[in-house]
Amino acid sequence: MSRIKLTTVAFRGTEEQEKQLRNTLMEIRNSDHPSVMTALQQAQAIYGYLPIEVQQIIADYMGVSLEEVFGVATFYSQFTLNPKGEYAFGVCLGTACYVKGSGDIVAKLEECLGMKDGETSSDGKFSIGSTRCVGCCGLAPVMTVNKDVYGKLTVKDIPDIVAKYKAL
């Protein structure tokens, strides 16, 4: 929650996306209890992240200030103000994974991809995000790449996994 990184990537939203967003926002505004958080969840599903332009549309539509929308967007760890990479690496740092060495896995991944946890590569291909417990502690330590799950990892496995995605 403490780390707020504004994106340097230019906004490339399409008209189609905006139309979709406005339709969703209309539904939310007409519900019994309109919720900014629900609006942000839907917006992130459409755009993949929450650029400030999108937050402004939400603020205008929901009749709240941009500050309030920004406040919610930066409070929750699932919301991202940066676009994720095409291949998003997530290393579980839950307790079970941590005691089995997932800290070393993050370090190795950072080394292999040449960037830090929380960053997206400049070509937009890769990003690293350490995550909280994924809930499959039996496989600890665990890493996810988009929807693929890699369990019972050792540091030695990382270069091969990274190479696999670099080749794609």
């Binding site: 900014v36 629900t38 307790t95």
Partner: protein
Amino acid sequence: MYRTHILVCGGTGCHSNNSGKIREAFEEQIKAKGLDKDVCVVGTGCFGLCAVGPIIIIYPEGAFYSCVTVDDVPEIIEEHIVKGRLVERLLYHEKALGNKAVHSLAETNFYKKQTRVALHNCGVINPERIDEYIARDGYQALIKCLTEYEPQQIIDIISASGLRGRGGAGFPTGRKWQFAKNQVNDTKYVCCNADEGDPGAFMDRSVLEGDPHAVLEAMTIAGYAIGSHQGYIYVRAEYPIAVERLKIAIAQSREYGLLGDDILGTGFSFDIELKLGSGAFVCGEETALMTSIEGHRGEPRPRPPFPAVKGLFGKPTILNNVETYANITQIILNGAEWFASMGTEKSKGTKIFALGGKITNTGLVEIPMGTTLREIIEDIGGGCPNGKKFKAAQTGGPSGGCIPAEHLDIPIDYDNLISIGSMMGSGGMIVMDEDNCMVDIAKFFLEFTVDESCGKCTPCRIGNRRLLEYLEKITTGKATMQDLDDMEQLCYYIKNNSLCGLGQTAPNPVLSTLRYFRDEYEAHIKERRCPAHVCKQLIQYKITDACKGCSACSRKCPVGAISGEIKKKFEIDQNKCIKCGQCIATCRFGAIIKE
């Protein structure tokens, strides 16, 4: 009628290990052999023994196959289904029984000591089919409540059962419902806390994924008992399978008239809506959770007023955790006396624990309250793997504490755990062995709470950050004994002054490790030494006389810190070494050690 049922675990651990593809392979190949009229393939919730997943159980034999892959499917069909012979090589082998193959689930040590109440349907039914739930007495409890009981009678039963909240604090559930019932208001809410944020706990996820209707049914009963017509389930967005199964379950029970207007023609109406979280640990706190359902930053607020008086959208609200709800239907069906006959004097029933960390049988276990930690860790869990020595068990997540070996024989209940400086929490149990540094573990939890502190109150926002800085000083060998005393005092200051449960319990991992492992803290400070060789600044890599001089390590070292002559002993330049550990991983002679 099918002659054989193949149960494929669809819990998160097995699912991540391709159990979905295994199920598809079974379905296709069974069909191709024309056996689909005799053999039924069922995707179920979690069986519990995640360590040896993917798990498959075949009834009527109850054969228990572990670590199955897609390639094993043809053999299982050919041998087991067609010829009726067990596939020995895939049967689970129990170490405690001299690595003998175990033929059925019930024979394993892992299951023998368990009592499954909240998990009674997990791994038994297909969670995506309401008919299977109904066949196991599903919705019988709701029918009984709506047709035979007055709301007050239901609350009396729950109170008499002695059920306490399974989310952590252990507040008596019946009393909570009574407070909400006593409020006079046309609009009341029933909420379910499915925002399982404690890293290392996954019991709620398994209940939602394996038996979603049990939660829906219990919430409807709660709605009838307190006079509410609307329920909300606040579920973690990180649990996509659970969300999907809940959606299916809600749609099915609406279709069957078990949810919605005029349930079963009794005139009682109740509906449930899903609200997705977005990842914030503090939202497990009840007032923060409700603020989050309303769509705002999930910050807690002072109590009173308690949610039972003024909760969601300012209306009387009850909030219970998933596991608590999972017990309700069983209490209604089997009676309060039955439930109260299990457990200890003040903690009744059973508790689910998620066993993880340095333990052989990682997975989900449900045991009667009063079972000892030793039984869980040694008998059910199979002890620490690789012959390592047990050091501590951590319960209660970032709010709890570490329990050392000397307390292994204490019977587990809410009050006993608090008396030894930990807490029940939601039920995560992480085992640590001699290779874990307790100061590092305390630091890990503090990093978590510092990151997850919502920032509303100063003791938690700033206090925990200062606390983390002390721990960083200790783990880098820069602290003094005075720092240790100051740190301890700061812990009590944060505990006593924070607004919500997050801050009030955040120092517990530090305090409990200080209580039982003060010697480790002192070794870091006085001797600048990490006894478990974890804290990087305090360890040195050294090459022993076992070195053959092959130069493999020096070629691998990323900073060129290792040098020497071929066929002679190499040396590490401590000033250059970054302690990455690559040399140890590279050396084939075990000639590099940490000290």
